[in-house]
Amino acid sequence: MTQAQATRHPRGASEPLLSVRDLRVTFQRQGDAAFKAVDGVSFDVRPGQTVGLVGESGCGKSVTSLAIMGLLPERGNTVEGKAVFDGEDLLTLSPSAMRDRRGAEIAMIFQDPLSSLNPVITIGRQVTEVMERHQGLSRKQATPKARDLLERVGIPDPKARLVNYPHQLSGGMRQRALIAMALACNPRLLIADEPTTALDVTIQAQILALLKELVVDTGTALVMITHDLGVVAGLCDEVNVLYGGKVVERGGRHGLFKRPRHPYTVGLLNSIPRLDAPLGEKLDPVPGSVADNLPWASACAFAPRCSQVVDACTSHTPEWEGDHVVGHRCFNPMGGTP
């Protein structure tokens, strides 16, 4: 806790805690063509800040997080670029050094809480395991801490829950237990990979409120991976919109929602159902799907699905217009070029 408080800073005013630069992940299976899942992604996360990575399935957002965590399979892929965390490039650390960071400094929350918990050991054991591993506590010492932790993430009757197995908990409780495991050692960076996708809407709101509260309380930096712009609107300070392995637009939460520049961001915003729209009005989804082999090399990968397409889109790769705070990657952005 003391360490976490020490790193608490006013939003955006400090040095980045994690700075990802030109991250590239290429999957290559023998005999197949290489597939660029992540193609030059850069972003910064400062202490206490929540950064969203948004995009539809297959845009590379989960692969980005797994690459930063060093959790990609050992074979069949190459990771290039830098992910500097607290002065160290995580991508060059040895596996054992990386293991010491994971869970202690950087932790991750996964999408499906049931399958992400070990079905044959108790919740308490799974929480204490992390503390035993990183803080050198005995199980006896860790148990009261685990109970406090479960209480902190809003699990009622935490003492009884310690000896429960995952199947005895409801979906929301399981996600809370997973969050407790991730927070067990007060990590400075938390990566949440679609933490609410598998939950009911009411539970989603509770989990998001919990995450928000924990981030504010502890000064933990949060990377929020989601396809749900509602989650982004409620939680993130900065948003990166990914398409085909590249960041296509970045901005602060307010700026991005008020004045989206990239047609893809606009498409995502338009595909959210609105309660205040007149009855019978059709949703306006983004047509098509993320293509398998992306032609970023010589064109804009979004061009085939774009409503704003101009000649340059199919003959040149759009360059990044902007900086590490705001920007987009489009030849014909909405609202015209400034």
Partner: protein
């Protein structure tokens, strides 16, 4: 790692003509199918074991199998105390006439009559269950221990270690198991029940190893193992706390089925004279072997031990099969 990882049966190279898969291939496929069955994958809120038990309790096949198994185990344990006659005593010796009546028939006090040496057949059958149980259980336990060790090594380390272990296992699987057991048992200088146990344990090892390795691989890619890795849990703890306990389900079910096979194989080897030759310790396969001499005059000498073997093996098989079905998410409702 290899082509069999995703359980595909290789298509015949000539395309058109369907080729029968080899003996080893058939066995490998069957084991791989078992490895994916019985892995934990459940509707939320209901424990796998509890829902399986709920269905088993009302399954007459399981109940029958369990009753036979239980009766067999209890009898095997208490038989020396409840057998009416000592297995070495020869109370019917005076009735044995080598020329006219080599095997005394039933009479009061001797339910099934005697054997060719005038010993009480019923008592010998009862006590024989003990050796059969010992051989079956120990052979399966040793096979299980060996298989779990090899399967864990292959599934946890992966890479060339996995390839090496699995090729050895494949070679063992491609030899018909009874033939392999026969070969191993005949290596022993003097046959005993331990020869049987070792020989049968060895033929069980590759089955358990392949089964466990298959479910370990499935666990390695599972979400909860990824979650444990994301928390920095050490590889050793991941293998023994997160992968192994979740992989054992199908192996334990297979062990129940293997007990039946072990009992039958033990009887077969014993019948062929590779078992314990000491007649003071009767064993069903051994009794079957001794009965050969009088098969035309007294077929019941062979009939009773053979029947016992069949019933007990059936009991274990019924129990094991219904366990497997109950734990297999694919067959549930």
């Amino acid at each position: 790692m290899s082509e069999d990882r995703d359980g595909r049966t290789p298509t015949p190279p000539d395309g058109g003509r369907a080729r029968r898969p080899s003996y080893g291939q058939v066995r490998r496929d069957r084991i791989d199918a078992l490895a994916t069955a019985g892995t934990v994958d459940d509707e939320p809120g209901v424990s796998l074991i509890r829902s399986a038990w709920k269905r088993l309790r009302r399954n007459p096949i399981f109940l029958l199998g369990a009753a036979i198994t239980l009766a067999f185990i209890v009898l095997a344990i208490i038989s020396p105390w409840i057998a009416p006659w000592d297995v070495t005593a020869r109370p019917l010796l005076d009735q044995v006439r080598p020329q006219t009546n080599p095997v005394p028939g039933p009479e009061p006090g001797h339910l099934l009559g005697g054997d060719d040496r005038g010993r009480d057949l019923f008592s010998r059958l009862l006590v024989g269950s003990r050796q059969t149980l010992i051989v079956g259980v120990f052979a399966t336990l040793f096979g299980l221990a060996g298989g779990i060790t090899l399967g864990t090594v292959a599934g946890a380390i992966g890479g060339w270690v996995d390839s090496l272990v699995m090729r050895i296992v494949d070679v063992m699987l491609s030899v018909p198991s009874l033939l392999l057991a026969f070969t191993i048992a005949s290596l022993a200088r003097s046959p005993s029940q331990w020869t049987l146990i070792v020989a049968i344990a060895v033929i069980q090892v590759p089955i358990f190893a392949r089964l466990l390795r298959g479910s370990m691989l499935a666990q390695r890619g599972s979400d909860h193992v990824l979650a444990a890795r994301s928390l920095g849990v050490r590889p050793r703890a991941i293998v023994f706390r997160h992968m192994l306990p979740n992989s054992l389900g199908p192996v334990i079910v297979q062990a129940t089925l293997s007990l039946a096979v072990a009992i039958i194989d033990a009887a077969a080897l014993s019948f062929l004279g590779l078992g314990n030759p000491d007649q003071r310790q009767p064993e069903w396969g051994q009794m079957l072997g001794l009965a050969q001499k009088y098969i035309s005059e007294a077929p019941h000498l062979a009939f009773y031990p053979a029947g016992c073997i069949i019933v007990v093996a059936l009991g274990f098989t019924l129990m094991g099969e219904s366990l497997r079905e109950a734990l297999d998410p694919k067959t549930r409702r």
